[in-house]
Subunit: 654 residues, 2 copies
């Protein structure tokens, strides 16, 4: 018996697949054997640590492909495997029924059937055992052959036989596979990145955690559920960078939050200017009251002033002249940053300490971490660390910031990162977006990699945003929010359409917030905050947008327009989004959808309701016209409403 091509299965079971609480795991496999016997198969599953397997029968899909499914109900790790066997009873019954139909003599066959039923007795319940014995006796009896054959083919017999399958020759699948089950927020989350030091109400003054509290209604009001802070630790003074990344800083320059560590402390301390640890915990609690989880940035690197440098000089690389090796990307030198040497002789101590950093912030109430540059640390470190953290609290979420080559990005997801930044910011044409999101949502990648799409970050101001202005920000926001079940923006730079680069060709901001304190004018009339709030409300109200599994692209006969949809499995929620990708010109096109996929009646009109503008349109057939002006509304987010007939046959849409 062969069980192969099991899906989902990542790298021969080396890595788990990912699900969130409440989701189904649909398992398929090729199952076959030599010969013509009928087979049966079951899917076995359990939560790790539970001693009993649950089971569910698998069903043949045709062409030797079988399917079964189970639901994961709790965070943690689930296990699953498969088993298949020859169903002797059904194989025999199939042959018998053909012979009876052909009017053949079947007395010996009935005798064989009796043997098969008797063989099932040892594995049967007391009640079934009695029945099986009774039927076997009847089959062996001298009663009228046709009557006996009819009894044998009764569904009651098949049902009893199915309850106690003879599995002594069963084949077990050679591997036990794993599912990591995470909170629902692992699949769907809406991130807002903000520098706490820019939160002060007064111009020129750096903000504190207390100041942040007063901004919580602003962020929550836009509909975000995660508030992510760049590192909040003391900032080094040696080689501190000045404004606009100037290698020399002036007195009063605040430095980059990613230059972690000073006399005041390192990765477990808070920057004194922001307040106390007490203040931080208070902020986290206040945020939670407004539906916001605070996410922290974990950047494993130190300034020369970090306490680790004195306490554990052996955790860092050394140059032949005895100095500590600073970070380099030749010819660039980052003398303000010392990377850890993860392969140091004392690696165990180092790794434990870094784990302690996560544990420390978990103890302060943090359960979402954005990890800076994980691709410059060993995969083995992350696999170990995420395992340790998840053992303490399986609901912790890790976002991987690995802007690097695709294989490495995917590997980090495989070793355990919950979500990952993507290439979304640089995918701006229709072809690029379709290709990329098809790879992310339709290939095996979907089993382990959860995209989190960001139109901007403090490091990324794309040419598209630089040149397209406000319409470009609107289009990219809507793309991010409707293509990705998880997305985020770096604000208030985003809603205020901050788009001046430091220099032509650069993706760095002019006067970047990374090196200075900002005081944003959040009430500017051109702010996109109302649009953002509307889009996030649409996301919250439409479950189709809360998952990436059903993303599907549709054709539009205009290369500047992109069209795609998401729907719930039961089709109770169907969202069709059309975006004009050209921030400069009005575009129009004919959109093609498949009516059959959505069970829409081709003979009746259906309603599409633009959730952005509130407008409703009656569409007919698979091909309909859309026109979009980037200045007013570069996109429409339609909810598709099926026509429901009433007794009076008034048009009514559900």
């Amino acid at each position: 018996m062969v069980i192969e091509a099991v899906s989902p299965e990542i790298d021969g079971g080396r890595f788990p697949v990912k699900r969130v609480v409440g989701e189904k795991v649909v398992v398929e496999a090729d199952i076959f054997a030599d010969g013509h016997d009928l087979l049966a198969a079951r899917l076995l599953f359990c939560k790790e640590g539970v001693s009993e397997w649950s089971e569910v029968p698998m069903k043949p899909l045709g062409n030797d492909r079988w399917q079964g499914a189970f639901r994961v109900e709790e965070v943690g790790i689930y296990l699953y495997t498969l088993q298949a066997w020859v169903d002797r009873f059904l194989s025999w019954r199939q042959g018998l029924s053909k012979k009876v139909l052909a009017g053949q003599e079947v007395s010996i066959d009935l005798w064989i059937g009796a043997e098969i039923l008797e063989d099932l007795v040892p594995g049967a319940s007391v009640e079934d055992a009695g029945k099986l014995k009774k039927w076997a006796k009847l089959l062996r009896s001298s009663g009228e052959e046709t009557l006996r054959a009819e009894t044998a083919m009764d569904e009651e017999v098949a049902a009893a036989a199915a309850r106690c399958p003879e599995r002594k020759w069963a084949t077990d699948y050679e591997r036990v596979l794993r599912v990591v089950v995470e909170p629902v927020q692992a699949r769907c989350s809406t991130w807002y990145e903000m520098f706490p030091r820019s939160c002060a109400a007064k111009k020129g003054k750096p903000g504190t955690f207390r100041d942040c509290e007063s901004l919580l209604p602003y962020v929550a009001g836009m509909g975000f559920d995660i508030l992510y802070f760049p590192p909040i630790h003391p900032i080094g003074r040696s080689h501190r960078k000045g404004r606009n990344n100037n290698p020399k800083s002036n007195p009063g320059d605040v430095g980059s939050p990613w230059a972690i560590g000073a006399a005041e402390g390192g990765h477990k301390a808070v920057h004194p200017g922001l307040g106390t640890l007490e203040d931080f915990r208070r902020l986290v609690a206040k945020a939670r009251q407004q539906g916001l989880e605070v996410a922290l940035d974990i950047a494993f690197q130190c300034t020369p002033d970090h306490p680790y440098v004195k306490e554990h000089p052996e955790w860092f690389g050394r140059r032949p002249d005895g100095t500590i090796q600073y970070a380099e990307n030749p010819p660039k030198k980052y003398e303000d940053i010392y990377p850890f040497d993860f392969a140091t002789e004392n690696w165990r101590e180092l790794w434990e300490e870094l784990k302690g950093v996560f544990f420390f912030w978990m103890d302060q109430g943090i359960r979402i971490f954005r990890v800076d540059n994980p691709h410059t640390k060993p995969f083995a470190f992350w696999e170990w660390l995420i395992g340790e953290v998840k053992e303490k609290d399986p609901s912790v979420i890790f976002l991987s910031e690995a802007f690097t080559r695709p294989r490495i990005m995917y590997r980090l997801a495989k070793v355990g990162f919950t979500q990952s930044y993507t290439y979304f910011a640089w995918r701006n044409t229709k072809w690029e977006l379709e290709q990329y999101f098809t790879e992310l949502t339709r290939s095996q990648v979907k089993e382990f990699f959860r995209p989190n799409v960001w139109p901007n970050t403090p490091d990324i101001l794309t040419e598209y945003l630089q040149m397209g202005g406000r319409p470009a920000f609107m289009a990219r926001l809507i793309l991010a929010a409707t293509l990705g079940a998880s997305y985020g923006i770096y604000g208030p730079a985003f809603e205020l359409c901050e788009n001046q680069p430091r220099e032509a060709g650069s993706e760095e901001y002019l006067n970047s917030e990374k090196y200075e304190v900002k005081n944003w004018d959040l009430d500017r009339p051109d702010s996109l905050k109302d649009l953002i709030a509307r889009v996030n409300r649409i996301r919250r109200e439409n479950p189709a947008l809360q998952s990436d599994r059903n993303l599907r692209f549709h054709s539009v006969d205009n290369d500047q327009m992109i069209c795609y949809s998401k729907n719930t499995d039961d089709l109770s929620n169907m969202i069709l989004t059309v975006v004009n990708l050209d921030p400069h010109h009005r575009h129009a096109g004919w959109v093609d959808i498949s009516l059959a996929e959505w069970e829409l009646d081709p003979r009746q009109p259906y309603q599409v309701h633009d959730l952005l503008s509130g407008a409703r349109y009656l569409w007919t057939g698979p091909r309909n016209y859309v026109e979009l002006d980037p200045r007013s509304a570069p996109a429409q987010i339609f909810r598709i409403r099926r026509r429901v007939r009433t007794e009076r046959d008034f048009d009514y849409f559900l």
Copy 2:
């Protein structure tokens, strides 16, 4: 360091890939690590049993994909695996060169370089060791920095460093993979199936091996290289089938050759009517002199008269009434056939005996076997048996006759069958043929499954042949011979266009040769023998047609016409075939090819030479017109000839 997504690799290395002598194994893998260091990788390979690995460096293809290749020179088993490591020297040199270009101070870097070179000394040859030490000393010296840096970047240093890579931190790929290397005939073979008892020159008389000898020139003259006989053993008398598969036979009925075993002997005996074992050996030798290998049919099943039944009743299944279980496919009963019970308690003895059957015929000079219905015997049996046979003689070829579901067909190829019958006979439309041959030649299937395509067999007379008559036979012959590097026909029924079914809807022949002796009129004027000879000569003279790896379909704007090409890797031989699939009507269409793929100059005409008719055409550009009349020539087999400029620029084609 990660080495993954290795190709070719079948089911995680569970099964070997297949090659023939002289072919290349091109190995690719994703190879990457955290961080930014430069990597190096090598492919290791050896013949099984050889203690030393050979190695070849792998080259990056971009996007973390690496490639290396080796050639297999002998039949047998080759092993391969991969190794990758950080190339410290090249990583360092890359950084140094960027720093030097940026005019930075590099004295410490030179010192680091010296350390790296010194670390290479222990693995270097005496000569290299001396050089490395000398360079290291120079790098550490107080000489002019720029000069020292220039020395370090000299290619001679890189070459020496590459000769003794520091592999103590190298990562070995976790698996050693296998290649089964078979004779060239495993990849390209031309089969002719013939019933020896129908070879008699005189009407009504059954033919003998001696009679067969006189037909060898006929078969060899058509260009075949394998002459395959249905079973040549004594035929049972119990329940012998009559003409047209009549359950009752009349005296004089000869029975089916697949009903093996009688008082005269079983699987190791020859039918007395055909001659002696001596005669058979003589025929095999005579055939070989004419370039024909004799292939035998191995059908593991017995008639009730087979000596095994008396000698080893325990090798067969038993019904509750004590009788031996005959073959059934309810409601059909095959009372003339007893299948072996491969799971009998005495399975070891049975399996050894069946192995002995192969060994016996190998001792008679046979090295090509066509195996009947292998899918009704356990996969484990075949994997074991083919392994045993190949250990005795790795050049033996097995053709699997498994007309069953695709997963099972593929599994038999994985467990060791050299070639396999396919669904070709039932793939008659353009869409079907394109889909099927794309799956066979472009997916991973090509690594383990070698198709052998047959337009007809003694069991398969398709509707297409029944209804299409002679033009259909011509079209199917050309499709088989140009789509498949291996193909075969069941003759003389094929060349004589035998197309009468036993009844409407049946694929059985009327008066099938399986149940009676035939006397074919080989000289009939409508015989396709000359066309067959021509097609087989084209196959022999054009190496492009001797492999399936480069098969590619091209578009024609007519669904009744199919177009495809094969070419050698070096483009010295390029064959483009166009076939009219409609046996009733003349069709024409525009054929599209890619000039760039064949390095054809778009500004110049090129010649296409129809090897069937001898006609030559000048084509220009990617789109050209073809018209085919099925009655005269349903196909054209073009050799593409590139234009070669001469000094005088006369048109001249190579």
